[in-house]
């Protein structure tokens, strides 16, 4: 909140003579994001999760995969912060290592699949014709393929280190439904006057798609990306559960939860920590997604309320009396004071 106040002051101190701020699109979005409390909380939680995931294993007294033969199924204690498993492995260390994988897979898959969906859908919807036919044929084809079977066939053949391929595979099966929605929206956006205006000023199609079409569906895309984070983590979890995803000795939150489900009723710590971290991750991503959506959409309600105060003259701002030349006479307080 203090940050917001500072920004407002910053805005007001600029008189009509000074260099007016004309921030670029992304800077504006970033600033709006900074102003959004929920987005900041979400980002902070995500940052903490990342820190934990990467620093946790370093500060833990136990190495990943190192068994403690004196402690099997021990509850949390100063020795083993989050308890141990059946084989005496430190749950804290392995959860942190699992968290690393899950975070990266979840976020990467979401970004990749939503980007693919946006690009494929927007190009198909904007260009129509042959491009549309070809792209939609591929989309439909992927939609009818049994995802799970293919993943479970392919996954065991991958090396344990090549989780990047796993990311690509997961993304490849998550984008199609969104792409179809995006295509529909692109077809309707194409008729908007601002898109026509851009076309008539000679902008090439790909520029129009990236400047006008895709940004105007950012709400949909962000909601989709947030859902995809969850979907990716869950898909990875279920694949891991069946033993196809992340292969041991590598772990992920999914494989940890899978391993913890059986002893959970009697030794709940084997299950709960990984499950809670999964929930926290998903919540944090949702918060960031909501904040980002508002920041990208200048029409968002929350944002307008915040802007109203610094610029009361915005709605009824000054227009030059006539078409004459001369300088503009501002009616807003700030301009009135310093205008020549």
């Amino acid at each position: 909140m203090t940050q917001q106040a500072e920004l407002l002051v910053d805005d007001q101190e600029k008189g009509p003579e000074s260099e007016f701020e004309t921030p670029g699109r992304w800077r504006t979005v970033w600033r709006q994001l900074l102003k959004s409390r929920q987005a900041m909380i979400g980002l902070a939680v995500l940052a903490v999760l990342f820190l934990m995931a990467y620093i946790g294993p370093l500060i833990s007294p136990w190495e990943f995969g190192e068994p403690d033969f004196t402690a099997f199924y021990q509850p949390p204690s100063p020795e083993h912060w989050w308890g141990t498993t059946q084989t005496g492995q430190d749950i804290f260390t392995s959860t942190m290592v699992g968290l690393q994988k899950s975070l990266i897979i979840g976020l990467l898959v979401a970004v990749v699949s939503t980007t693919v969906a946006a690009v494929v859908g927007a190009f198909a919807g904007y260009l129509l014709g042959l491009t549309d036919k070809a792209l939609m044929w591929v989309t439909d084809l992927l939609l009818v393929l049994p995802t799970f079977v293919i993943l479970s066939i392919l996954a065991p053949r991958l090396d344990s280190g090549s989780w990047l391929i796993f990311v690509v595979l997961l993304s490849a099966f998550l984008w199609m439904v969104t792409a179809k929605m995006v295509r529909g929206m692109a077809i309707s956006l194409k008729e908007r006057e601002y898109v026509l205006a851009a076309r008539y000023m000679g902008l090439p199609a790909w520029k129009i798609i990236f400047r006008h079409i895709i940004p105007n569906m950012s709400s949909l895309l962000i909601v989709d990306a947030t859902i995809n984070v969850v979907a990716a983590i869950l898909a990875e979890t279920s694949l891991s559960y069946f033993g196809f995803g992340i292969q041991p000795p590598d772990v992920s939150l999914g494989s940890l939860i899978a391993a913890g489900t059986r002893p959970a009723p009697t030794h709940p710590w084997t299950f709960w920590f990984a499950a809670v971290l999964l929930i926290v991750t998903v919540l944090a991503v949702n918060l960031v997604g909501d904040g980002l959506r508002d920041a990208l959409d200048p029409r968002a309600k929350a944002r307008r309320r915040k802007r109203r105060r610094p610029a009361p003259a915005a709605a009824a701002g000054p227009v030059r009396p006539a078409a004459g030349t001369g300088r503009v006479q501002g009616t807003s307080e700030k301009a009135a004071g310093k205008a020549p």
Partner: protein
């Protein structure tokens, strides 16, 4: 009329023939809201006598519609209404919805702006009118149906017996509005409230509907409340006027007093900002600065003070009451009304008249100027297809069917016509810069059927566009700066001079540079349109295509935009292709005008010649249909009423396309008619000028 109706009228008469039929006193309407209440109506009072027509004018958001909804008791639950509304001395406010329902439709009726929303799509119009009759009177269904048919005949629906069995979507906009009027007068009401009844209609249809309203009033003797923003409609139709501003009446009186002896600067400014169809000389319009105030947090003084050229410190102290002008029932809410009266000030005395620089190019003879746009025989047909799997062509929409246009440097060509005549299709064909199906489009000497991609890009530099809806034409996710910079970036403007150019453009269109970082929705309509114009001018084009650039704006704002366009044209030597359905605006801004009807140009020529002595019957009808904001002139005019609606462009009549509606055709002999039916008239010059009309029997006639 049947006995039941006379019974009602008799009951009404017992209150006294002189007493007001409807009396509204100190009406206030507040919509509770967060963080502040919206005070939409603040103290409206008026009286309506039998057979009187009261006009309520004001810009959007002035509270004129809310006032009438409050009278009808149709406001949403949450609205707080105080004051008094008396119908024949009976209080209506505070009655339950059930009690009001007995009055509504029987003694007060309403005609809405959008007749499609006001009619139920699943019942035939005959059933709907019969229902209105049945609710309020004891009749059999057969009688009610007969009455419905009778009413449809009264409002001029041809073939009433058959058409009564049709559904609302089978009627055109004008016909639907007639049905609404038929429904409104079904029970012989004492008061008819018309809320912008003709705003959504084309001018020729508007003239028909106003005629029907007049006929309906003669038939029923009802008093009418006419709510509109069109000062021309008011001038010809009403007896008294109530001008509203920010939820309050600011001036009221007889129509002549308001139009010729205005005492409130707002009314005067409003009248001064309307472009006039009947005035040939180009006096700049008088715009009212600024925007109407927000109704949530009004300052204590006169709400018009921030925009008023006569404002003094005392204006800010308290809101002025309506004060009578001595010797009449003319009232004005202005503390300087007396001064205006004493000095006999007119609108140009109190408002600063903007200076439009002299157009230097106008001195060069037209023939010596460069041709900027040349269109020859342009054709655009859309196929009509049927079927999903096996698409087959079942017909053709002749959207644009062979038109010629020519625009020279520094010239404004107005392209006018009713909706559906092919104006917009023509524009899109020009802007696409593709090879047309047939014909030629030549922009600055470069024909679109021969140019490659690079050349087309260069043409785009010289050709830009301003759209109608300033909200829809600006990307809501981009700041004003980005919007204006977009064409510059697309055409590789040097990056280091980008910023200065954007600021220069903002200044050019009269916007302060501090607005560069704002988003379109933070601007008012007029400001948004200025951004649209700045974007269009970014690349210093030679030709700007303007697609109804002012029709979405209020009159006072519109005047500012028109002045801006004229100023820019003179300073930057632009040529405009100005597409509009508002012929008054076109007369004001254009040098030449082309009138379109069903994909063809029926008349073309110098503005003053076409408006002064139109030769084509369609142009004559179109011009005569436009109301002029001058009560005396309006009373003296006779309208040429066209029958029916625009035929479908998929199935245009043979020969002359206008013959099905042509008033002249009706007067011709059988032999003369064959020419109209068989051969399509070409655009023929009249005398030795380049004024041409496409009519076999063209004859100049003064109609304005």
């Amino acid at each position: 009329m049947t006995t039941t109706e006379t019974g009602i009228t008799a009951a009404a008469d017992t209150v006294g023939a002189d007493g007001p039929v409807l009396e509204v006193t100190d009406l206030h309407v507040t919509f509770p809201g967060e963080p502040d209440d919206v005070r939409a109506v603040r103290g409206v009072s008026y009286q309506l006598r039998k057979g009187e027509v009261l006009g309520i004018v004001g810009e959007s958001g002035s509270g004129k519609s809310v006032t009438s909804l409050a009278v009808m008791g149709l406001l949403p639950e949450g609205a707080e209404v105080t004051g008094s509304v008396r119908l024949h001395g009976e209080e209506l406010l505070g009655r339950s919805d059930e009690q009001l329902a007995k009055v509504r439709g029987k003694r007060i009726a309403m005609v809405f702006q959008d007749p499609l929303q006001a009619l139920t799509p699943v019942y035939t119009v005959g059933d709907q009118i019969a229902e209105a009759v049945l609710i309020h009177s004891r009749r059999t269904k057969a009688q009610a149906w007969a009455r419905a048919v009778e009413l449809l005949k009264l409002v001029g629906i041809p073939n009433a017996e058959q058409r009564a069995k049709a559904f609302p979507h089978e009627f055109s906009g004008g016909m639907r509005q007639r049905v609404m009027i038929a429904m409104a007068i079904a029970n012989d009401p004492d008061v008819i409230i018309c809320d912008e009844p003709t705003t959504a209609l084309d001018v020729t249809i508007q003239a028909q509907v106003l005629e029907v309203l007049k006929a309906a009033q003669r038939e029923t003797g009802a008093a009418i409340v006419m709510i509109t923003h069109d000062l021309g409609v008011i001038a010809g139709f009403v007896d008294r006027v109530l001008v509203m501003y920010a939820g309050r009446p600011v001036e009221t009186g007889a129509v002549d007093d308001i139009y010729y002896r205005g005492r409130m600067p707002y009314t005067m400014g409003l009248l001064g900002s309307v472009p006039r169809l009947d005035l040939g000389e180009r006096a700049p319009l008088v715009p009212i600065e600024g925007n109407p105030p927000s109704l949530t947090r009004l300052p204590p003084g006169c709400p018009f003070q921030p925009r008023c050229p006569l404002a003094i410190d005392a204006c800010g102290e308290r809101e002025p009451e309506l004060v009578a002008v001595p010797g009449s029932d003319h009232q004005a809410a202005c503390i300087r009304a007396g001064e205006i009266e004493a000095n006999n000030w007119g609108v140009t005395d109190i408002y600063p008249v903007p200076e439009i620089p002299e157009d230097t190019i106008a001195q060069v003879p037209r023939a010596d100027r460069q041709v900027v746009l040349d269109i020859e025989g342009l054709i655009k047909h859309h196929p009509l297809t049927k079927g999903v799997v096996f698409r087959r062509r079942v017909g053709t929409v002749y959207a644009v069917d062979g038109i010629d246009l020519e625009i020279r440097e520094g010239e404004t060509l107005g392209l006018v016509g009713e909706s559906g005549c092919g104006k917009t299709t023509t524009l899109m064909e020009i802007l696409e810069l593709r090879r047309p199906a047939r014909g030629r489009v030549v922009v600055l000497g470069r024909s679109t059927d021969r140019i490659g991609a690079g050349e087309r890009m260069r043409v785009r530099r010289d050709l830009s566009v301003v759209f109608q809806d300033p909200m829809a034409s600006l990307d809501p996710r981009m700041t004003a700066y980005d919007i204006i910079a977009e064409p510059l970036l697309a055409h590789n403007h040097p990056k280091d001079r980008l910023r200065s150019r954007v600021m220069e453009l903002l200044d050019l269109v009269g916007l302060s540079a501090e607005y560069a970082g704002r988003y379109p929705q933070e601007f008012s309509g007029g400001q948004r349109q200025r951004i649209g114009i700045a974007r269009a001018l970014a690349l210093e084009p030679k030709l700007v295509v303007l697609d109804e650039p002012v029709s979405a704006l209020d009159v006072s704002i519109q005047a500012g935009i028109i002045n801006l366009l004229e100023d820019l044209k003179a300073r930057l030597r632009l040529s405009y292709l100005f597409v509009a359905h508002d012929l008054s605006v076109v007369r004001h801004i254009a040098d030449r005008v082309a009138v379109m009807y069903l994909g063809k140009i029926v008349e073309q020529g110098e503005v003053d010649r076409v408006y002064g002595a139109p030769a084509h019957p369609y142009t004559q009808a179109l011009l005569s249909a436009i109301p002029i904001p001058d009560p005396e002139k309006e009373r003296g005019r006779s309208r040429i009423l066209l029958s029916g609606d625009l035929p479908s462009p998929a199935n245009p009549p043979s020969g002359c396309r206008f013959r099905t509606r042509c008033p002249k055709f009706l007067t011709l002999s059988e032999d003369e008619r064959t020419a109209c039916i068989d051969t399509e008239p070409p655009l023929r010059g009249i005398g030795d000028t380049d004024h041409g009309a496409a009519c076999h029997y063209a004859e100049e006639r003064e109609v304005v």
